[in-house]
Amino acid sequence: MTAVLQLRGVTKSYGDHQVLRGIDLELLEHQAVALIGGSGSGKSTMLRCIDLLEEIDDGDIYLDGEPITVPGMNPVPTRRRLGLVFQAYNLFPHRSVLDNVIMGAVRAQRVPAEEARDSGRKMLERFGLADRSRDYPDRLSGGQQQRVAIARALMTHPRALLLDEVTSALDPELVGEVLTVIRELKQEGMTMLIATHEMSFARDVADQVCYLQDGRIVERGVPEQIFTDPVHADTKRFLSRLLEANRL
């Protein structure tokens, strides 16, 4: 079986600062892989590189077995096959919730507006947001906004969903509703790459956990092993710091 996403030796720097130092990763169909690690470890950059919002310096990325990082290639068709959800939601403040959700379908995939609105409403209903479809994003709570952002990313039926610390900007009491949505997606078989600070969530939703530090995947394994019996000293140190901060 070919992987949905595959990274081989991916590197990326901003000026002198090397953010990714040779990432190898495979994401199989229906699999959820969690990326954990401190701020600046390269999680977000990795997701942005996969969605071709950043150009990588070296290495290759494959989507369904086809290289997507060939120099000179048009990134737009690839972006249409992937969904990316941001930490800060990045909803369009000048558009209603429904218009946000159907923007990709209408503009990128040229679905007729009426049809897109129908499926957009269905998508919002599924996330319990049917009554907010006419509201503007700033009228919604953070948790609701992030659920709209997830709905927006799903509207284009992505091959894989890339989640970039989607609960980090939320008030603690709103984290749960967003995590519930992601758990449901996992049960439906969505292929996901999840950068997260929520360790207990990573533990129960992910099939595999990767610990990143300084742009490298230091350790990877099933959640049980990483969280209870980490092999690498860096992973141990990271987890014990979280334990001290009561975040595990």
Binding site: P75, R107, A108
Partner: protein
């Protein structure tokens, strides 16, 4: 020590608030009377007031000139509307050329930078002179000779420069993550600009954009220096030159105010509404 009885009651607070309001109304009324009354007295008792009243505020002259001046003002408004429409489009084009990083556009980009620098840096009145007298002097075929067209071209050059900078500030004020979100959805760059960045940018710069148009509406009077066009200021000048009475100027000024004051109020309200939408409050609380 807290006692059973509250120290102040709601009635006490309401009473205090009423007292404060009464006091501030009294103070503002008094100061208005003193200041405005003083200024009026100063003008009315000035030694030259009698002459000023006759040359600037003559009812007879107002009556005699208002028709001609109003007809001229209609030309002002027409010119203003045409120039405004062109400026809105050209200014946006210039701003886009400057913000986009397409290599093909480089020569245009340089042109746009020179345009903005040049026509923002030179007083409008000089541009009107140079275009109005310089262009026809080139003796090229097809160059318009009408004063209002030449003046319109000059004003377009100046205001496009201003307006393109306003647009550009708006485009740059939209956070890059908005463009990123649009691209992530699979929109192309032009689509991201058209559907996500520009609508937000233009909404944000609407008040400064309208401010520029208020000053354009006034600057249309500069066309009068080219002679030919009989716009409001020019008509008033002709009266003044032949009859030594300046009342027609006051008439023209009043006509300008009829347009600019409503526009200004509209901009103020727009700005206030935007401020509220962005959650901004006035810097000093309710008092």
């Amino acid at each position: 020590m807290p006692t059973e009885q509250p120290l102040t009651t709601r009635a006490d607070r309401d009473e205090a608030r009423r007292r404060r309001r009464r006091r501030s109304i009294a103070i503002s009324s008094l100061s208005t009377i003193v200041v405005l009354g003083g200024l009026t007295a100063l003008v009315l008792t000035s030694p030259g007031w009698h002459n000023v009243r006759i040359t600037f505020f003559s009812w007879t002259w107002f009556h005699r000139s208002i028709g001609t001046v109003a007809k001229g003002f209609l030309l002002d408004v027409k010119l203003f509307l045409i120039v405004e429409a062109v400026v809105l489009v050209l200014g946006l084009a210039l701003a886009l050329i400057r913000t986009l990083n397409a290599p093909v556009l480089l020569p245009l980009k340089l042109l746009a930078i020179v345009w903005a620098d040049l026509f923002r840096g030179v007083p409008s009145i000089m541009v009107v002179y140079m275009v109005g007298f310089g262009l026809p002097a080139l003796d090229l075929s097809g160059i318009p000779t009408s004063a209002s067209v030449l003046g319109g071209i000059a004003l377009t050059l100046c205001y496009t420069a201003y307006v393109s900078e306003v647009y550009r500030a708006g485009i740059m004020s939209v956070h890059p993550s908005q463009g990123g979100a649009a691209l992530a959805l699979g929109l192309t760059r032009p689509q991201a600009l058209r559907y996500v960045v520009l609508p937000q940018a233009i909404r944000r710069v609407l008040p400064p954009l309208l401010n520029d148009f208020i000053s354009l509406q006034k600057d249309v009077a500069l066309v009068s220096i080219l002679g030919g066009a009989s716009e409001a200021f020019r008509s008033a000048q002709i009266f003044a030159a032949s009859d030594f009475n300046y009342t027609p100027l006051i008439a023209a000024a009043l006509l300008y105010l009829c347009v600019t004051i409503p526009l200004t109020r509209f901009v103020d309200r727009l700005q206030l509404r935007q401020l509220r939408e962005q959650g901004g409050a006035l810097a000093l609380g309710p008092h």
